[in-house]
Each structure stands twice: as C-alpha cells, then as structure tokens.
Amino acid sequence: MADEKQLFKVTIDNITVEVEPGTTILMAARQIGGDVTPPAMCFYSKLQGSGGKCRTCLVEVSKGSEKDPRPMPKLVASCRTTVMDGMEVKNITSDKVMDARAGVVEFLLLNHPLDCPICDQAGECHLQDLSYEHGKEGTRYEFSRRTFEKEDFGPYIQLHMTRCILCYRCTYVAAQLTDSRVHGVLDRGDHAEISTYISKAITNDFSGNMIDVCPVGALTDKTFRFKNRVWFTKPVQAHRDCDKCCGKVTLWNRGDEVLRVTARKDEWGEVESYDGKPGWICNTCRFDKKKLSDWVIEGPTNVNRHSVISTNHYVNGKVPQETIAEVMGGRQPKLLMDIHDVSDVNDPSVDLSVIPGPATGATFNNKKQQ
C-alpha cells in the first residue's frame, strides 16, 4: 500500500481546504473556487516558471503555518507562494489586499490604450474582467500613453504592443513548446516590449498557442482579425486526427463558417488538460483547418453564463417567455429597425472565413455591387 499522503490544511478567507504539499496558495484557492480565488494575469499553471510578475494575485498571509504562526510582513504573490500546514490567508477579506489590487489594476490600465471597441480580444479579455471586478471607473493619469514601433510577427500572429501587460506568458510558450524561441522582451522598464531580434516572423509549429495564453489583446489571431466580435460567434467543441497535437479544439462559428479555432479553455481561461497533458494545439489545426468538414463536431461549448459569449449560447439556456404580445392584446412588437436595412456590415451573405485578411467596408460594398 502506498504511503498515505500528508495533506496540508490551508484556510483562505475562512474557508479551509486540504491540499498536497507544494501547492501554491493560488492553486489551493482555485480548488475552493469562486470569489476566493485571486485573479491571475501572468500566472499560467501549464507554463513552468510563469507568475509573480503582475502582482494582481497578492494576498495577505495572516498566519504563516501551524509551527510558525507569525504573519508574513508583506503581501505575497499567491501564485508563487507555496502553502504551509495551518496557513491562514486573507484575500477578499483583507482591506490591504483589496487596496493593493486596486492599485495594481490602476497601474496595468495606466498605459493600456483601452481600445476595446476595436480589439479582437474584447469579450474574452482577462484585463476587462479584472478591471470590471477591481478597477475604478476613472483614471487619475493625465499624460499621453506610451506607444511603440509596429512589429510584424508574420502571417499568423498580430502584435499590439500598446495593449501588452508584460506577463511573459508568450515567452514561456515559445521557450517550452516550440523548437526555438525567436521572440522575447527587449529593453526595460516602461519601454520594455515584446519583440523579435530582429524583425523575424514567428512561424514555429506551436507558436499559435501564444495567442491563447495572452491575457489581453496584445497577441491576436491574424486569420481572425476584425472578422467578427467573439460574442457574435458560437463556440462548439470539435476534434480531428492530428499527428502533431491532441486535435481537440473549440471552433468559433458563425453559421456554418469556422471563423476561428482555439484550444479548449477551462474556467480559469487556461488550456484544458487531457490525461495530465495540456491540450496545446498546432498551427495547422489553428490556422489552416477553417472548414467545418475538417472537423468532427462534438457539441456546443459550455460557457460561463456570466460571460458575454454566452449571450449567444443555447445550452441549458431558458428562453424567457415573450410577454409583449400578451400585454398588447396579441399584437407583435413593432421592429424599429433591422440593422441590415441600412448597413451591410456583418451581412450574413458575406462569407467572412474565406476572405483573405480582415473584413473592411470594401468587402461588403463589393458584395453589394455584384
């Protein structure tokens, strides 16, 4: 019989959980789930060495351990601090933590362009979620935001350096998944930037996973660029036989068009694991298989009902009973305007997935002329 594992008891926000030694506070909190879990912008459990940088997951350790009950003098990064037996942690119950976290969110947004209306990541952006939870409605920053020289990463990945929060996740992906890392962080301080040395294309076979791990819209899929808002697409689970990767993906469809392919993500926004192995997908699956016939559809993706993406989702969804007709004596509500009467944008007859590059006004105008 195997030795019984010694489990550590850790109390986070007065909720006690038993975890294996070596678990970080953040991973212990994820076992509890809910509001107790500190947000993580740079930590990614599937990438070795990640975390500790963004400081959003700071927590207060009010009791070090059973043996040494002294509290830790400073707030600690929960993603990189391992639990001790009897540790007591305060996350949302600590004013100090909430104050520091609000500060970090303010710092992260300081130079962020807030161009969500034109950002492809909007709707599935961790920085949006974080600002919504912990940010303030205004900014106290009265200076111009920093900008960068444009950098071309080749045909697959689009870099928007102004949106980057320097989480270093993409560099870990490149170092740990691809054959060779061609990009990294150049320069330092507030002018540090993700870049290649010098002006190289990133075409490595698994480089597309950089897009999946990016918590903001700094790295986006060029083949999906400006094609659609994520909340207008319908995610479905699909798979195919792939000799390079697990082949298990989420397709983001509009009708029968496959607009985008990503790896499947769990509730923490991380790539899901299969048999303990993270389900990274290869660039062929991600960028080249954009036909429904390439895939075996498994069914709709389960999307958190708080997510904006679930607005178009139908699993377990209850369609509210239409009451207007009832109260109006059977008359149907008058439609004020059908958007397609006046605008051709997102005209359903335009096949977005087959046009090269992003959709522009010309795409729809040409259609009109035909």
Binding site: K53, L75, V104, L108, L166, V185, G189
Partner: protein, 451 residues
C-alpha cells in the same frame, strides 16, 4: 581620528600591485585562515565580528554565510556584488581602484569559508578600467600561489573571475545579478528560494558587497571580537562613506561609526563643511534610495539626541523622522537646492532603471516621474502631491524586488518632510521657475516631544 582598517594603506605608492601590498602585510589573513582555521571557524569569526552587509540592507554577513545550504556534491559559489550603481555611492570604486588586492584577499578567505572553488566578481560595465585592474591583481595573486590549485598547500582550490555587467542598476539586486551572471536578462527572481539555497545555476550562492568581503580581511587578521569592539552597538567595524554634494571635500571616508552626523559634515577631517559658506538644507545619508532628511532632523533625532553616523542612530524614528545607513552614499544639499527638482531627478533615474517585470514598479515609476516633472515646472496641481503619495504607497512592498521600495522611499520622504516646498511650487508657478524655495524652516530646531 577614527581608526582605519580598509583604507589604512591606500596612500602607499603602488599598493595596487602585489609586491607592495604583500610587503605592507597583505595576504596575512589568507595564511592565517587557510593554515590555522577550518572553514566553519572563519564563518564563526565573521559572525562574532557583527559585520553587517555594506551594500545597503545591513544584513549580518556571518548570518548570511551560515544560511548557505551545503548539500553533498553540489558546488557553492561566492559572488561579489561590484555593481555599484546607486546614485551617490562610489566607495567600492575607490576600494577596487586603489586596493584591488584587499578584495581579492577577502574573497579567498570568504571562498574558503563558504567552500566556493569558483568565485565571481560581478562589476558594473561602466567600471571598465577597474576590470583591468582587478584582472591584473588576480593574475598577480595566482602567480604568487594565492589563487589556483592547492593554495598554500592547504588543498583548497579557488579561482576568481570578473564578469562585466552591461549597465543596469537592477543587476545590483542579488537575484537579478545572478540571472545576468548566467547570461540571461537581468530580471530579479521571485524569492523564495533565496540564493543561499538556489543561486547561480541553481547552486547555493552567497552574494556580498565589495566592502563586506574586504572587511573580512581585518576581521581575520585581528579576530572577530577585536573587530566588534570598534563602533557602537550593532554597528561594528568601520564603514566607507562616499560623501558628495555641496560640501568642501567630497570623497570616500572611512569612519568607525562613533562620530555624529554634524561632525562628519563640518569637521575638516571629513567633509569640511558646506561649500561656499552656504547653510545645510537636507541630506540623503545612505545613497539615493534612502529617505531624505531636512537639516533639523538630520543632526538631531526626534527625541532630541545627537544623530550619529551608524545603522541604529540614522534609522532612529523609523521612516517618520529617520532614514537609513544604506550603502553610505552621503549626498548633501545646501540651501540653494530644490527638493522637488532633486526628487524628480531620482524618480527619473528609477523610471529608467526599472526592469519592467512587475507592474507597480514598471508603471508607477514613470507616473511619478511625470508628476514630479510637472510639479517642478510649476504646472502641477495641489492634488498631484496627494496622488504622488498614493502612488508611492501602492508601489512600496508590492513589488518583486526592493527597487520598487527604493523608488518609493525618496518620493515619500520628500513629501513627508518638504511638503510646503511642493505646495510652494504649486502656488507660485511663475516664481518657482526663477528661484528656489531656499532653506525656509528646514534647519530650525524642532520641539522635542516628551513621550
């Protein structure tokens, strides 16, 4: 006249060379340690001496050495931090330039105590000419049997390598230094694990300042207890102070930590008073990162006692009314200096030197710099002062490495003690571009509050 231990022989001609240094009694400590003591006894001696790290934090060096993990079959390393980049600090430069052998000697003894067979000097890139001096000294030591295999027949092997940095202040932080030494980007590591467990190439490592390692030489020569008798309380031994700013005699001075701050500034043996007959306004006694103090709080503590030049007295009163010994970069400001401009200069430095790894420091330092520039030019608002306070509060303690704290403290202290000067800049936007606030009340004696 205080006792000199490190700079005693600095005036001897050609002391830079092995022959002269040896004739003047150099390398005695190596002989004593390697022939008559075992490594643990050396560490014990350093512990007894009460030697505190001279790089800034003042952590007891002997204690740091005893924390070093010693697993079987894993090499251990000694790294000397010569990345002296703190504005106002230039003591290590003086030491290495004129007395390179005292560092080499100290390193051999320390390497013996720690069991390091390959020791490194990580020197800032801008000290390019000192690299040549050190390498020549290492060569001389090796030719004379003090480095290499089987030193003095003791069976102990040791080699020293000089590694040049590439011009980053952050590489003076010990884990960033280790990363840089390994050939990576100089980002500080997340602690724990501390270098004593996992340092260079994941092996146990001790990182010490140049002056700390050099101080090992007199400790071994005279014995730890003798060394501990110099100085007061927990501030034992001698400390190099690099004095600069508006003083008559800027330079590197060795003090035994028993003199008062007033004596240090005004006596002819040291700084020789404030230059041009001006009056003293403020001083940063330990390098740019430590809090600035106005003249009245600098010379007397809040309790009304005379402030002495040692670790305890300088930090008396905490950050509310005290400061820190730091690395010994003594910057004196006379009545013509503008604290707002001065704070801006420091903020600009920290913005430039932040590694950009963690968000509070990366974004906050730039923000503070912009606000301070605005205030300095008379374009600021009253709310900017409170905003600055709030920013520094959110940086301090929330970053990976102490650079965030170092960037926050000068701003905090400037606002704490010189708030009316900041307000004057806001209220007199025109006048502040033409003249300075002057001394104002900053040298007036303070009322002593009786507890």
């Amino acid at each position: 006249m205080g006792r000199k231990l490190l700079l005693e022989k600095a005036h001897v001609e050609n002391i830079r060379h092995f022959d002269v240094y040896r004739r003047e009694g150099g390398y005695r400590s190596v002989e004593k340690a390697l022939k008559t003591m075992n490594p643990d006894a050396v560490t014990e001696e350093v512990k007894k001496s009460g030697l505190r790290g001279r790089g800034g934090a003042g952590f007891p060096a002997g204690m740091k050495w005893s924390f070093l993990a010693k697993p079987e079959g894993v090499p251990r390393y000694l790294v000397v931090n010569a990345d002296e980049s703190e504005p106002g600090t230039f003591k290590d430069r003086y030491l290495m330039e004129f007395l390179p052998h005292i560092l080499i000697e100290g390193m051999i003894v320390a390497s013996y105590a720690l069991g390091s067979n390959r020791s490194y000097i990580y020197i800032r890139g801008e000290y390019w000419w000192i690299v040549d001096i050190l390498e020549q000294a290492i060569e001389e030591a090796r030719n004379n049997g003090f480095l290499g295999k089987n030193i003095l027949g003791s069976g102990f092997d040791c080699d020293i390598f000089v590694h040049r940095g590439a011009g980053a202040y952050i590489c003076g932080e010990e884990t960033a230094l280790i990363e840089s030494l390994e050939g990576k980007r100089g980002n500080p590591r997340i602690k724990p694990p501390f270098p004593a467990i996992k340092g260079v190439w994941d092996c146990p490592t001790v990182v010490n300042n140049v002056e700390t390692i050099s101080a090992v030489v007199p400790i071994i020569n005279e014995g730890g207890e003798e060394y501990a008798k110099i100085g007061v309380g927990k501030s034992t031994g001698t400390k190099l102070i690099s004095a600069c700013g508006n003083i008559n005699k800027p330079g590197v001075y060795e003090i035994d930590m028993t003199i008062s701050v007033e004596e240090f500034i005004y006596s002819d043996e040291y700084c020789g008073g404030v230059a041009n007959g001006k009056r003293l306004k403020a001083c940063i006694p330990g390098g740019s990162s430590v809090p600035i103090l106005p003249a009245n709080l600098l010379l007397k503590t809040a309790k009304g006692e005379t402030r002495m030049m040692n670790y305890e007295s300088l930090s008396d009163g905490g950050f509310a009314t005290g400061t820190m010994m730091g690395s010994g970069g003594f910057i004196v400001l006379d009545e013509d200096q503008c604290v707002v401009k001065h704070t801006y200069t420091l903020a600009r430095f920290y913005r430039h030197e932040s590694c950009g790894q963690c968000s509070p420091c990366r974004e906050g330092t730039g923000w503070m710099e912009k606000l301070l520039l605005r205030l300095d030019r008379g374009q600021g608002k009253m709310s900017d002062i409170d905003l600055l306070w709030d920013i520094q509060r959110k940086i301090e303690g929330n970053t990976i490495c102490p650079l965030g704290d170092a960037a926050a403290w000068p701003v905090a202290a400037a606002i704490r003690h010189f708030r009316d000067e900041f307000e004057w800049h806001v209220l007199n936007p025109e006048e502040c571009t033409r003249r300075n606030y002057g001394l104002a009340h900053y040298a007036d004696p303070l009322e002593v509050t009786v507890a």
